[in-house]
Symmetry: D2
Subunit: 346 residues, 4 copies
């Protein structure tokens, strides 16, 4: 038996925290994670009191976070399932103390000041923050595996960007798409993407039998798409919608090609790009469905091409809590520590 | 054209308020109702800002409640879609001022002190409160039509009691059921029954794909069933459950008969009891479904009988927001003012 | 009391038939409709046996269709809620016999042979069929009110085209949109749009918690959009998706403007176009939600504009069974007979 | 590495087949199972064509069943996810040929001729069938572990009986319940319990936003409850209902106690009975929710007691496809082969 990794999860009581625990509890290469709560904001006690469905997996206490406890327990890797603002303030000190980090918040995903601005962070030490943001690896292993392997800080991508970037990357990087004709991303997300805190707009009666768009021009996740896909702001239109399902995400993406292509060629580009990458499945000529990637770490892709071969519609589905959050966080951990990328995720 | 009634709704911004408005706006015998909000607790403005789906029905303002405004506008009837505590305090003064009232809260449904106790009211004038509770009509028109017709104060029943009392009344009043062998009421309610305020337990992600029981021995609605059906506390077991649907209620009720009966006789008792009562439909030998009474003021009934003719299962469905609340409130108004009981409700 | 219209519904047992009956039963200008079933394909008996929720509205029998029965009963107007093929064969004879018709099927919506071809009709008398298709009014009253008023045959639009054409018409007819840059229509429909016959893909377990696209380049409703909006086939990309809700439709439409506009100007164009048209509500700057138009005949519109004022996203919601089918059919009847357009629909 | 078991699944294309494959594919003690289809009734090809979500787990072909192929491949254990009638005819020959069998159908669950009669089997060799039914182990490991360990044929229980028997067994076997006062079982099941074939009553539009009872006095699963709990037919009232969720089951069970008990004592009886049995969790004093056992092999229990300590309400939840079918089938396999009961199930 190899030595096992000691991880800790800060903020285990939300939906991404829960998914992360489910994966870590059965991961063969990690010990039972330490569960840390932020002072004053979360209850201590047994995790089984927060998530009764975890009963039967043994007693796992939640404790207030302290550096000394983290050091003493020999924590190697910190997962942050915390608010953006907390992560932005917490990470510089954690880096100084030598911890490796996978941050599930949006705190370190962006480099361009203009994009970061939407979060309205008030950094105590702006220079350090800027430098950290530049050094952080963007945790999409299909695009940045070697950066992630060596990073001390991995910024786990947002759920919308994960579904959209993975769909567009193969044809964008091959220069086959003409972004000047517009990149229109129509995304639909399950409700868990809005978090666990009860709000009027996540009340069952408001969501069930309903469907709506929100934040059509201003969603925070735009910046990640722009930076990762090297798009100009005016080229990208991104509209998130709320699906009346607990989890799952579907993106329909409309682009125009520089030269007419046929379906076989498009399929080939997609398949080649993801050859050897275990968590992207190309379903063409079938179209993927949200249910197929539910409770998995897969991103499933498909497409449709107009008769004239110029207008391409890409389809992309993920489970927003797994590949869109906690599954990808563990995939990043696997890459950081040289484990098989699939470990704990199948 | 006859003179029309001037009504006012206090507390129009919840789910029962909304249903009430939808009915009153199309009711041929009432003017556009005045909409009053409680001080400090609800927003003023247009009702169309709270319920955008009401746009197109004209501008209806919400105003802070004041006695002078109610008198000046010539209000005949007040509908209270307000918290129990508010109604308990508000009604004595409204009665003194001569208004007739349909109270959708639980403030005046109960007479037995022991049952009332669950609400923990702190009456300023307990004697008046006791007397008012005794004079109030229990607003189930199928049982108390003539009381309601003459009442100044009508206590609109709870949703669970409506579905359960209407199912049991025909056989109970005929003395055919043996309550000593237990009256087991297994009720399932749509989520709107829990109100509009967002809570963790009404978050879409917590309710969807889920089902659970709650308050199995202590639900406040027990008292209404005991009083209306003349049951002893130990005879009644009532278990409410939360259904993952926005609205609708289904009660399955298990009782034992004093003497064996056959299905034809049971059907006859039900049909005879509700003959001429337009809002109870007996579906036997079919079993009613929640969808059939959805968005209607019907209570739909069915039953199943064990082979030996001793164990009877009754099925009862209503829309918890209509027959279980606002539709019944309007039915009560129709009875109070001598309109056809069905007016505005079909 | 004015003379009332005698209508008949052929094919009343599907979802659109049911919605149509609910409206006609309460419509003040029509008698109880005759209900005709197609020979061999639907059951006769009481409509209350097919839709138990209609019990309590009186006994309405379903009878096999015959011309003599229709003539003898003095039928003025026939509603066809029948398969496309049946309507295509039935209508020429009905026209010869002098009946006015609102056909809810797709049989007569299209004029361009190329578009009609997707239905694979085998017309016995192609010349007559061609002429009828040219004479038929396209039953979108917001665009063709005077044609409809005088038409003997009204082709009720498809649900997807209704939601999309109403959103695009104001800016398209004003020449503000550049269709050469692409018109991308991303539509999401409730499951009732797929009809009442049980299929694997409408099984509850396959639909619940799921979301998927279907027929992305080939859906039959494309032709209506092309003809009504005067678009070239290569300009239009239309992707229908299946929403896990029983009814309701949401279209998100991406276009580019010829000249930059500001939001106020876009709103003005929309509002002006629909001024005096009671069934289109412009919600801007709010975004409409599916729930707001549910169970109504409204089409609700909203939009979002990119910062540079060039990329416009339109949002459009309808109830696919009401404005997308049976409500619009009754709206057409109202126009054909000079009734107030809103009669029976509020 | 120990030798691994070779299993085969006959009938892998339904919902229980799919769940079984998901578990067997990750079970450490079994090889990839052979997938057999019944002649003429199911398609051959890749299982990934039937369940696209299984793509990525390797190519697994489905082949027509033949005895020679089963022998040649060295199959140890046959899982039957087939119709009752098929299993009833198939099993005698399989037994003769020496295969061990876990039958997920209802073919061999019952011993009493009266109970078996509901299936209307036409046995070619009634004597053998009767004997096999007597020798078959009833596959509820919490009650019959040692029988299962030695059985050649294990009859996997129905989903409703699993949830109800596990709730009642502790107090029934202790003689604390008085069955003469009635055992009222109110069960609610997710739609996958009705199978994968599309029917009108499983159409999404018929199920969503709805709730209904069905087969209230005649459901086939009654016999299992009677035999396993040693109840007389007239003591048991069982009402199944259809929940608008894809999977999950909740049973609320009303009984009366011979002597008054307090809650602590009831909890103790439950906990003691299931001590050391890993797949039953006693949640008292909490009430279990369907979501907690979803996608797990747990049966979760809770209860409520009336004030007088005489009327007991038991709550029991399972995932109808896991503990109610395929998970329990694998649990039975684990017992049959001496593996840890939890292997592959956590």
């Amino acid at each position: 038996m190899q030595a096992q990794l000691q991880t800790a999860v800060i903020g285990p009581t939300g939906y991404t925290g829960y998914e992360l625990l489910k994966i870590l509890f059965r991961h063969p290469r990690v010990k039972t994670p330490l569960l840390f709560v932020r002072e004053g904001s979360e209850k201590t006690g047994e995790i089984g009191d927060v998530f009764p469905q975890l009963n039967g997996t043994g007693h796992v206490p939640m404790e207030p976070f302290s550096w000394s406890r983290a050091h003493q327990a020999g924590v190697d890797l910190l997962f942050l399932a915390t608010p953006h603002e907390f992560s932005r303030e917490f990470v510089p000190e954690a880096i100084r103390r030598g911890f490796r980090i996978v941050d599930l918040s949006g705190a370190w995903r962006l480099r361009c000041a203009n994009n970061v601005a939407v979060y309205k962070f008030e950094d105590k030490d702006p220079a350090t923050a800027k430098q950290l943001a530049e050094e952080a690896a963007y945790g999409l292993p299909e695009l940045h595996k070697s950066d992630i392997a060596h990073a001390q800080l991995v910024a786990n991508p947002g759920c919308y960007p994960t579904s959209i970037i993975l769909a567009l990357a193969p044809l964008m990087t091959a220069g086959l798409i003409d972004p000047d004709r517009g990149v229109f991303c129509d995304s639909k997300s399950g409700v868990s993407g809005a978090g666990k805190s009860p709000k009027q707009e996540t009340h069952f009666v408001e969501v069930a039998d309903n469907f709506r768009a929100y934040n059509p021009t201003t969603h925070r996740h735009r910046g990640e798409m722009l930076e990762q896909l090297k798009l100009e702001a005016e080229q990208l239109v991104f509209t998130p919608h709320l699906l009346p399902i607990p989890r799952g995400m579907f993106s329909t993406i409309y682009v125009q090609l520089r030269e007419p292509m046929n379906a076989g060629r498009v399929e080939q580009v997609l398949r080649k790009f993801y050859d050897g990458k275990p968590f992207v499945r190309v379903f063409a000529p079938k179209l993927p469905e949200v249910a197929w990637s539910m409770n998995t770490n897969y991103c499933d892709l498909g497409f449709a091409l107009s008769k004239d071969g110029r207008k391409l519609t890409l389809f992309s589905t993920i489970d927003n809590l797994v590949k869109g959050a906690s599954g990808q966080a563990v995939q990043n951990m696997n890459v950081m520590y040289g484990f098989d990328e699939r470990e704990g995720l199948q």
